[in-house]
């Protein structure tokens, strides 16, 4: 688990490090971001990628960061996908790099 402000992922914090920590999970692993981080920022401070590309071997880590390219969609354990660059991190988010095992869910 990475301490808030310490980076072992793709991104590096340069400023604004005095914010409250926010806990979340990514692919089941507990990680910590800071209040005001986007989901993209929080994941990529600890990891190198958000997901795998659907049409090639590459990893994906976002591209435009302004909601235009749609490169940064990630999954959540409870279903709905979200655009990581424009979604603020919230306490307890359970994020996934790929679809949950039970997807699409069968309704009872």
């Amino acid at each position: 688990m990475s301490a808030a402000g310490f980076s072992n992922g793709r991104l590096v914090r340069l400023a604004e490090t005095a914010r409250a920590p926010v806990g979340f999970t990514f692919d089941g692993e507990a990680l910590t971001g800071l209040e005001g981080d986007t989901v993209l920022t929080a994941i990529l401070l600890s990891r190198g990628a958000l997901r795998a590309a659907e049409f090639g071997p590459e990893a994906r880590a976002g591209f435009c960061l302004m909601g235009a390219c749609q490169d940064c969609w990630v999954w959540q354990e409870d279903g709905p996908r979200l655009r990581a660059c424009s979604t603020p991190l919230a306490e307890g988010m359970q994020l996934l790099s790929a679809a949950p095992a039970q997807w699409p869910a069968r309704s009872a």
Partner: protein
Amino acid sequence: MSRVLIVGAGPAGIRAAETLAGAGLHPVVVDEAARAGGQIYRRPPEGFTRPPEKLYGSEAAKARALHGTFDALVAEGRITHLSGRSVLALRDGVAYVLGEAREQVRHDRLILATGATDRLAPVPGWQAGGVYSLGAAQIALKSQGVALGRRIVLAGTGPLLTLLASQLQAAGAQVAAVLDTAPWRAQLTGGVGMALARPLVTLRGLRLRVGLGRIYHAGVTLERIETDDSGPSAILWRDARGRRHETRCDMVGLGWHLRADGTLADIAGARFDWDRAFHQWLPRADALGRAGEGLYLAGDGLRILGADGAELAGQVAAVACLQDLGLPHPDPAPLLRRLARMRRFAEAMARAFPWPAEAIGRLPDDTVVCRCEGVRAGDLRNTLPLSGPEANRAKSLGRVGMGRCQGRYCQLAGAEIIAAASGRPPSEVGRLRAQPPARPAPIGAWLSEAASECEAEAE
């Protein structure tokens, strides 16, 4: 009373809202961000502490003024701000809006101030995670206080290339190289025109450039981005004298100035013309931004004049709207004179930092053109015997422009490849028609209850 809807809360949208509110109207402003400001004056989330001087440098006073104007209009109840929402579609006076839930906003008149995105040219290897647009690197720095890598190379051309490199360095990031594809000769001839139109702005840019020193290279040819499992590992390039270089890096930022985002303008019924100065399709509008019945365009989504030009264009579009409503309005003449100067500057800048059309036409067959779906230049070329040299047909059969970004980042390069392969100018290849939804919309949004209706009302 007329219901006016403004889409976009950047410099153009904010000034349009202010002008309409000044005439007693109560516009509704829809914007994707949580806080108004647009991209160039984008604000960090609440609770961040860097002052505007740190975020916006020489433009801090303008940013403060815009943010202050908008916040005051909202606080005084003179405009309605629908933040964190995207307009997906427009039809028969209704905007279909998606945020936390679906909404329908009825309106009589529409001002689109949707701005621009980075204009991208493919570079072999650019599909790797860890390659970003230049705008992305600036957004990350401004609104999140992060660098997108430890050893950064910025490549492409345009004013953002130099500005971003300086901003990253000042914030403590390591910029290994700044690779400008614009040759010195183009920069000199264009630069003279820029200096004549806006000497101070040109001088400021020059000073930033000089400050970069030896990491800056002009007239560069980009060969490819080397990648490994973790993303970019190096960029291979040739300098203006043809010598090969390899620069190690873990992040590459790419961008060739800006591309007007005409998606909603197209859906709203605007017509488009090929603009030779900006080398892209731009919506057709009169001098005040009228683009159709009750449709007005402003800002970089209409003409790429930058933030100062967008503030003027926003006011001018609002004036056009007030004129059409028969309401008292400010005199547009002084605004139009200033806009003309912005336009001279922007056209000179387009000459100084040209789009690398020939280089794109020559890209190797295995270069990914469509980053969404991994469609390569060779795939596109092989589609042409079947589709013919027309952008929409080539999209249907070859899928360049069919992916999630809806062609925003590949269609200009795709058109150059089709043009070069078929021996015609890109203007004859045509322009991808925009399709709603303008943003991907989760199907779940339609499974829940009906959309709430709201009216862009007037006083």
